[in-house]
Symmetry: C2
Subunit: 130 residues, 2 copies
DNA sequence: CGGGATCCCTACGGATACTG
DNA sequence: CAGTATCCGTAGGGATCCCG
């Protein structure tokens, strides 16, 4: 390794202290990123809307995920004490900024996932021939 | 399920069948993304180099992760049958394309992680006052 | 409606020991 | 050196019941 410019925020994801590690704890969570994207596309959404939109998520996981994202300041939780309670979730400005990099990943997935699938098939076929 | 237009690659991360879900299985894995980044910065690397670079990873997880990435066609594994075996890992062209969107996330983390931390502190303080 | 609390099971992942 | 195999604890996460 050659000299590292300290003014450039180098990617020390390898050190356990790097923010990158904790970023993975946030968006690396399957449901968390889906929730962010859902709110990014849908704007303000109710709990039941999110639940319906994100197929396969249990209410335990959804609640847990939303709490986590609220704690991280990525979304707001608004309770309207009507007759049946109404709760709305919405991305904060900070949450909206996360939407962009996530969409880059989305585009990568859409563009290259077919290649990944082909690679998998090939790999699996080779291994089965053993 | 209603009719699905197969030509339009819309972002159905919410449908369990969408590539986005499987993308999360790949880069959502803590060690996988770190390995990709390590190889992105370091080029061709040996197993021991990766092990040293990615702090805190067990050899079980590292091996498992590398196999997964190899299977997905993101990196190549080259065995040199010398006296002690030498194994090198290197990103494929496909793996290199993944590096870009991951770096966008990295930049987001470095730019906003402080805000996240502040939000957390505030959230925790409010909750403890209950 | 939007959760909180509980039970329970599994698979993720670390530590250790062995091999080509 | 670069793994594979095994054991084993723990936490992730589903199902269920209940509450404001």
């Amino acid at each position: 390794m050659d000299a590292v410019d300290e003014s450039a925020p180098r990617f020390d994801a390898f050190a356990a202290s790097c923010p990158s590690r904790r970023l993975l704890d946030t968006i690396g969570d399957k449901w968390a990123s889906l929730a962010v994207v859902a709110l990014g596309l849908g704007g303000r959404m109710r709990y039941s809307e999110l639940s319906a939109r994100i197929e396969g998520v249990s209410q335990k996981m959804l609640t847990q995920t939303l709490r986590k994202l609220e704690r991280d300041g990525l979304l707001t939780r608004t309770v309207t004490p009507s007759v049946p309670v109404r709760v709305d979730y919405e991305l904060t400005p900070l949450g909206l900024t996360l939407l962009e990099p996530i969409c880059h990943l989305k585009e990568w997935a859409e563009a290259h996932m077919a290649e990944v699938d082909r690679a998998r098939d090939e790999y699996d076929r080779e291994k089965l021939q053993t």
